[in-house]
């Protein structure tokens, strides 16, 4: 039995693959003790721990430790003159018209920073040597006074030469062996001191939280006879054995949305679809991601609580349009949806937990797409009257029937989602017309067809059990490790050899690490160079194919740079006239998950069919009502139709047709 368990804010989802097919379970999360949700889900699914060969796990433990500021008490060691680096940051404001703007709060207070007289230069040479004898006494006093749990060290230019960081770490171990020490060189080897320092503090901060969490879980698992592999989801959409998190846990931050993208990519891949836009609509937000040729777009940096972390991360755009998003009228008389949300508690009015403001979920209830009996979100009957009641004031405000006001709210939410997708696609030079939209999350498939229409996307693929696609994503994800290194060189005749050497070194290092972690399987490397015109502030990531490396020439590197520059900026930027340099090197190591496990529908074996009345885009329609579990491959459904799945509801509008393909994916297309 292989099991994937994803802990979300509200629900803990389980997908298990065994000899008898898939098991799918959803239980409420236990926010205060998230690991309990894992065992609740296992118990509910009736899975014995000794039967599991593999448990793949995604959780918000690391993310919450940062958001709730419940990590280690940190000391921060930094080159003298730069003790304010975590506070000064990069100067920019993220909301430019906000007079009350506050900067993101660093994980270390200024008084917990200690300046070290030393200076390494960008080429690794030493301008001012570190004299550990000279600082020992004052450092000892500083550490003794602070009641610290961990020490984060980030010295200027340490990516070029880790000697001073290493010697400081040794000194601290000598002074106080009880302290955990994290050096920036072991976390991020890229230049830009603020981002590297923050990433280092982030790793040190969440380390004890993750370690304690995993230790607790492993001990319960062991006591229950688990002898399989435990792996943890990363924000890059792949996983790693739990042991890897003990070295660097920053990759576990923000892993939740990534698992869903991976699940969507794999399930759509079964149907041969490799270019897709994923659309995950849950309770509070809609997350969208662009996937090109089966690979989710990665960004090299993301922010958590406003603080940057330098690690490759699935590039997800978020808009406040989820089931709990509030519907309201602004003081100019425009109807708005979100970004404020009713959250998990009280949630939408129809949940009957005291929600008094209209939400997007209430809008769908009033429009008739969500039936009271649909038992969303864990078995409660939906209160239609409550939805109608909370929609009455806004309906009156606009002179509309409640259902028409609800219909307007749904269309506005859809427009917000469309704008978010444009942000990750057309605004970055990608035309999505040839892409397939893959909706998931409980509410994604309710909105997908209209979103696709607005973006001129012809095909929508709805995976089976779209509400638990994240847990499925855990099971089918690869194992991946990434490493990068700043080592600036001019792009001259000597460059190809140096590129081969540096990339070779990183490959060897990653291969060794994955060997030590005991991950079996093929090793696939992915390589790229960060290049720029000399003097530019930003680099462009230029992918290198495996076949490129042995025959690399200066001209070839220049051509690859020009091609990428053209793709991003729509001009070559003067390649040939202006000097180019290589700044950083990136290598990813992937161990593919070869088992092509397929997601499937569950529940409702009835072939019964009903009907319902749906208000959609100003029209009252008689829609068919079907159960996803009863649809067979090749079966086609003409819209308007509502299809209920165990964990999601699908809406096929009038003029659209859906058909189940050979992989249980529902393919929706507008009639020509």
């Amino acid at each position: 039995m292989r099991v994937g368990i994803e802990i979300g804010g509200t629900f803990t989802d389980l997908v298990a693959a065994g000899p008898n097919g898939l098991t799918i379970t959803k239980v409420p999360s236990v926010p205060a003790r998230p690991d309990e949700g894992v065992f609740d889900a296992l118990d509910r699914a009736g899975i014995a721990c000794e039967a599991m060969v593999e448990l793949a796990h995604g959780s918000t433990v690391a993310t919450n430790a940062v958001l709730e500021r419940k990590g280690a008490r940190l000391a921060f060691l930094v080159t003298a003159g730069f003790g304010d680096v975590l506070t000064i940051q990069r100067l920019e404001r993220r909301r430019i018209f906000d007079l009350l703007y506050r900067k993101p709060v660093p994980l270390v207070a200024r008084k917990d920073a200690f300046e070290i007289p030393e200076r390494t230069l960008f080429d690794g040479s030493i301008a001012e040597p570190l004299d550990t004898g000279r600082i020992r006494a004052s450092l000892e006093a500083f550490l003794a006074a602070g009641d610290y749990g961990s020490v984060a060290i980030c010295l200027l230019n340490s990516f070029a030469n880790p000697d001073h960081e290493r010697r400081l770490a040794e000194l601290i171990r000598d002074v106080d062996p009880s302290l955990d020490v994290t050096c920036s060189y072991d976390i991020s080897r890229e230049y830009r001191e603020y981002e590297r320092a923050t990433t280092t503090t982030m790793a040190a901060y969440v380390q004890p939280v993750i370690a304690a969490y995993l230790a607790r879980m492993e001990s319960v698992l062991a006591s229950r006879g688990f002898a399989g592999n435990l792996s943890i989801m990363q924000s890059n959409g792949a996983r790693m054995p739990a042991a890897a998190m003990r070295r660097n846990a920053v990759t576990a931050l923000l892993s939740g949305p990534a698992a869903g993208v991976t699940g969507a990519v794999r399930q759509a891949g079964l149907s041969g679809i490799r270019n897709l836009v994923t659309l995950d609509i849950g309770g509070t937000s809609a997350d969208v991601c662009l996937v090109v040729d089966g690979k989710p777009q990665l960004s090299q940096e993301a922010k958590i609580d406003g603080l940057p972390i330098r690690t490759p991360m699935v590039d997800i755009a978020t808009v406040g349009a989820g089931g709990g998003s509030l519907v309201w009228a602004d003081d100019g008389g425009m109807m708005r949806v979100g970004p404020q949300s009713a959250g998990a508690n009280p949630g939408p009015a129809c949940y009957g937990r005291g929600g008094t403001q209209p939400t997007l979920t209430d809008a769908h209830v009033l429009c008739g797409r969500l039936r009271p009996e649909a038992r969303l979100a864990g078995s409660m009957q939906l209160d239609v009257e409550a939805s109608r009641r909370v929609f009455a004031p806004i309906a009156e405000r606009f002179g509309l029937e409640p259902a028409a006001a609800a219909d307007s709210a749904v269309q506005i939410a859809i427009a917000n989602v469309v704008a978010a997708i444009r942000q990750v696609s057309t605004e970055r030079g990608r035309d999505t017309r040839d892409f397939t939209l893959v909706p998931f999350g409980g509410a994604g498939p309710l909105h997908a067809a209209a979103v696709a229409e607005a973006l001129h996307i012809a095909t929508v693929l709805v995976p089976p059990n779209a509400g638990v696609i994240s847990a499925y994503g855990l099971l089918v994800s690869d194992h991946s490790l990434f490493e990068s290194l700043t080592r600036p060189i001019p792009l001259d005749e000597a460059a190809p050899d140096r590129v081969r050497d540096t990339l070779g070194g990183l490959r060897t290092e990653l291969a060794k690490r994955i060997e030590e972690l005991g991950v079996p399987g093929d090793r696939l490397f992915e390589m790229s160079l960060d290049m720029r015109f000399k003097g530019q502030a930003f680099e462009i990531t230029v992918p290198l194919a495996e076949a490129d490396v042995p025959e690399l020439t200066r001209e070839r590197l220049l051509a690859l740079f020009a091609r990428e520059h053209e793709a991003i900026y729509s001009h070559g930027g003067g390649v040939g006239r202006n000097a180019v340099e290589i700044v950083s090197y990136r290598v990813g190591l992937h161990v593919p998950q070869l088992d092509r496990l397929s997601m499937s529908s569950s529940g409702a074996e009835t072939s019964a069919e009903g009907s319902c009345e749906v208000f959609d885009r100003g029209e009252r329609l008689d829609a068919r009502l079907l159960w996803r579990g009863s649809l067979r491959a090749g079966q086609s459904v003409q819209g308007p139709a509502v299809i209920e799945d165990t964990t999601a509801t699908i809406w096929i509008p009038k003029g659209w047709r859906g058909e189940i393909d050979g992989h249980q994916n529902l393919i929706m297309r507008a009639a020509a």
């Binding site: 018209f97 100019g332 269309q411």
Partner: protein
Amino acid sequence: MSTISPVDYAVISQAFLSAAREMGAKLCRAAYSSIVREAKDASTGILNARGEAVAQSDELIPILVGSLSIAFRHCAAACPVEELVEGDFYITNNPYQGGHHLNDVFIFVPIFVDGRLLGFSAAVAHQLDVGGSSTLSNIASDVYQEGLTIPAARYSIARDWNGGPLEKLIAANIRVPDQTIGDINSQFAACRTGVSRVVDLCAKYGTAKILQVMDEMLDYSERRVRTAIAAIPDGTYRAEDTLDDDGVTGHPLTVQVAVTVAGDTMEIDYAGTADQAKSGLNSPFASTVSATLTAIKDIVTGSDVPYNEGTFRPITIKAPLGSFLNPRHPAPVAARMEPIYRAFDSILMALGQAIPERVIACGYDSTYLTSLSILESGGYQVFIEVHGGGWGASAEGDGADGIAQPLSNCTNVPVEMTDMGYDYFRIEEYSLVPDSGGAGRHRGGHGTKRAFRILKDGVRFSIYADRFERPAAGIRGGGSGSPAGCEVVRGNERIPYRSMGSDVLRKGDLLVVRTGGGGGYGAA
């Protein structure tokens, strides 16, 4: 709203705003100029057939808020819109025809649907170079020395651009023609995106509905601004703020403002403001308007209200012709940021009397720009930076320490990047200036200190900044922030600099740049 449904209005108006943003994203992504790409010194938008901005990408840089309509009016005056045909465009960078400084080049492309002029797609971007005597030309004594003026006029893309005579004329007058022409081409590309978005919307919803939404967007913004102004107590609120140094004689320059709130309207009158300066410390009227609107957006409406021509209807902005907030041709204008920060702060102080709970203390609120350059056999190397200062404190809390100033949003350059890129200096310290934020119940944000060790002889240093003598004021009994400063430590000698000037440095010098703190809020 009587005939347009709430969903059509919400969806179509959002589509206009998202088209304006998409144009901006496209322009910033494709730009050669790092000030466009990184500081987002650009703006894009859609105008109606009367030239009123309907949707503008104001989230790029505050200093270009509301700037499109003003420049447009001068273009339409030069060539009436009725004479335009498909393939025409307007262009201008003239500070005396609704432009900002010469680097900001405006392009307007007409949008025709079924042969009918529906509106304009517009883009303005800060160009790397527009010719002239110097790139840091606060020493220019007239606008001619600052570069090439392109007067507002109509041209044809096919005839005059793409290798045509206008493109050749511009290219021949600037130092980096490839980049500048390339960036203007990015502006055209952004405008094409805007045109095609509007044409698509007309195809989907019908031209009549689109025109109706465009009108309603102006009314909508107007209503929201009126609602916000109506919440401010009626009255006339006066304030003044003073620039340290006019850049030539060393005399200060004072901004006077009277903000009059009457019901749901507001008048901002800069009567009494000092006469124009002989240096580039003059703000063209369009820049004064943008700074004023930014202050109103910050204080009165918040960023949720989309700024467009409707925003102006309840707001009147006046500045006496010949003052340094509305200079007469041919006064130089390159250093306009300093005067408009004083205008911005004067409004902060004036409205602070009306709605103290919503206004913050003045921050450092200046552009502190330094340049370190060296001429060696390999050519010129130049390192230009805009430094952050302290933010004003508020009723809610302390002002932010070391942050980009309110009319711009520039990031700093990582120290590791300067180590890698420049061998004639090394940054030895980058810190907050202790206790530089004004005291108070909530303290002002601290200024920053950056110390550069000069590693070669003959490094030229230039500076333009403000608030070396007159620091940021506190509010409701809060203390002032510390003033900014600049000095060179040479052996045992300390050589202080004024806020405007330049010098040649020696190997071993330590150049210390200190920005000011923000004002405090409330008595301590």
